[in-house]
């Protein structure tokens, strides 16, 4: 892969902003609460990246909340009941979510268009109901008092400090979430620009055609859906760790719809679209809080206006041209 100088510069600036600029800004202004909001955005952006990826094979995924919930529960159960370190439970949560996605994907990925969208919409409810019904998830009472992530050290060298001992867990969670987000989007970028990415694009346009030229579409579909759900599981597990609790309603249908909106708003044609979309939707909603009961009205109107006049997402008006607000 060849990167232009401009691209490398862009990424460098971006990294500088989130790892140096934001902490400096927060230290200067004393707005410590931004750490959590930005952590949320990073984690939601990870889950949204998964949704974006399913769009990439031409499937509208409104079920990411289900996989985030699965991830949150798996991590919580491994940490609380099996005594695992959070850092091992995190990939385990992602992998378990991916496994669930494979099992579910086998039947439902055969569906297309609105059928797939409708069935994924139901998935989040299934996850919530399952969490309520199973004994291992503690049913309605949820899992609470989850310990903070413990430290990891290798040959006496502290790789990750014990979060319970840290003065400032907010900053620690912020950096963790940002690093995860960057890995996610780097992986996403790599994937899109690989042979697999080309195959996905051909599937998005025409599955029959792709199949006829020898693409194993079933395999690719399942693989992509599994990766997508892996991201969802990771995002959910991190959230459970921050709030130190998981409930059946930690992720609900509304979250799933939000993940989808994040992708749409940012633009489906751009890898970084979901990141921008998540940021705008999260902060946009908070800013509109000033308007009291008109909050939802203004929010939905803006949404409709954007779709009406920018059907291909905000990034379609080229990078950096600002927000339509």
């Amino acid at each position: 892969m060849n990167f232009s100088a401009k691209q490398i510069l862009g990424v460098a600036v971006f990294l500088l902003v989130i790892f140096v600029g934001v902490p400096m800004f927060i230290a200067a202004t004393g707005r410590w609460d931004f750490y959590f909001t930005l952590t949320s955005v990073a984690l939601l952006a990870i889950a949204s990246a998964g949704v974006w990826l399913t769009f990439y094979i031409g499937r509208i995924n409104i079920g990411q909340g289900a996989f985030a919930l699965v991830g949150a529960y798996v991590s919580a159960i491994l940490v609380v009941k099996a005594g695992w370190s959070f850092w091992i439970s995190l990939p385990a949560a992602g992998l378990f979510a991916a496994l669930v996605a494979v099992l579910l994907g086998l039947p439902i990925l055969r569906l297309r268009g609105v059928y797939f969208a409708m069935i994924t919409l139901v998935l989040t409810q299934v996850a919530t109901l399952t969490a309520l019904a199973l004994p291992i998830t503690n049913g309605a009472k949820g899992i609470t008092n989850i310990p903070l992530p413990s430290g990891v050290s290798l040959f006496g060298l502290t790789l990750i400090p014990d979060f319970g001992q840290l003065e400032n867990t907010r900053m620690a969670f912020y950096f963790t979430a940002c690093i995860l987000m960057i890995i996610t989007y780097a992986a996403l970028y790599r994937l899109v620009n690989s042979r697999l990415g080309h195959l996905c694009r051909s599937m998005q346009q025409n599955e029959e055609l792709a199949s006829s030229i020898g693409v194993n579409i079933t395999y690719i579909r399942i693989l992509i859906f599994a990766i997508s759900s892996f991201f969802g599981g990771i995002g959910g597990a991190m959230f459970g760790s921050i709030s130190q609790s998981v409930y059946p309603a930690t992720f609900v249908v509304k979250d799933s719809v939000d993940f989808m909106l994040n992708c749409f708003l940012g633009g489906l044609g751009y890898v970084f679209g979901p990141m921008l979309g998540t940021l705008l939707i999260y902060f946009g909603w908070d800013l509109l809080f000033e308007f009291g009961k008109y909050q939802l009205l203004i929010y939905s109107t803006i949404l409709i206006v954007v779709i009406r006049f920018l059907p291909d997402g905000l990034l379609s008006i080229r990078f950096g041209k600002g927000e339509k607000k």
């Binding site: 309520l132 009472k141 709030s243």
Partner: protein
Amino acid sequence: METRAAWINETGGFEIGGTTYDIEIVSFDDQKDPKRAIAGMEKMAQEGIHYVVGPNVDDGAAAVRPVAEANDIMYFPYAFPKELYSPPASNAVLGMIANYQSGPAIYKHLMENEGVKTVAFIAANESDPLSQRDGGVAAAKELGLEVVSDSVTYQVDTTDFTPVLTPVLRTRPDLLVLSGVSPANAPQLIRSARELGFEGLISTETAQDAGVLAEGAGDLANGFISVGGASTPELASPMMNEFVERYTNMFGEYNDESNTKVYALEYILETLKATPEAIDDVDAFKASMDSFSAPNPYMNGDEQLTYVGMTSFGQKRQIAVPLVVNVYQDGAFETMFIARVD
């Protein structure tokens, strides 16, 4: 709460330790989303706030706990899980009467006065109602009631309760408990139960809205037992009546539920008045909770504001409000009995 704050400010502010303060309420809407609730609590910490009223749901209250404890925030949730209020937790103060406190009181009263022997429970398939049902079932068994049905649940979005209720009513209970029922679902459940020919008692441990009951179930709701706020005519002091009036002017429609919130503010302010250094020092606040006592302005007689909860939590982490049990009759609530929590 905004009403009460505006009222205090209008009358010149609130005096704590020789300084008169205006009260400013900082609000945040968590949309019942635990993720947003954390963001809200972070915002409160950011603004240097030490006293927060809410969140209103179990998962939200559990989610904000780490933030509150890390930032020295006392919070007054309207959620019931006992571990929020029992040691080692110490920053949460239950802002109302919990169902595991009101439930037994109601069942006992009905056993003694109405001869209730069997009871059935039904709850929405959601965290809060299910937890409340489990608490209610345990309490009923302890009192020696026979629980004839406790496994039936319904989806929150159910619009027709007849099929849901049919198997419950087949067990012919003396008392049907609607655990943690929302004001929207209550009239429909009552109506379906009565239309199916149920003649026993129906009760719940949550606060209800008389107007909604009247519209949704009409006369069928007569005799429905619920837990009220503290503004029933017998109890309400002139000050409570003025509060209700001001609230109605500000927001249009008063419901009995809103006055549980005004208590939390009054408790915070009065405790701060008694212990001025607690304004920035929650440890002083916690220390004073054990002995704090002030006259209750919202109730007639010489009622006191104190912190309670020893029996349920092993420490005083609950505000004392009267437990008012109401019966619905022709569009309004009548007081059935009043009890106290220790």
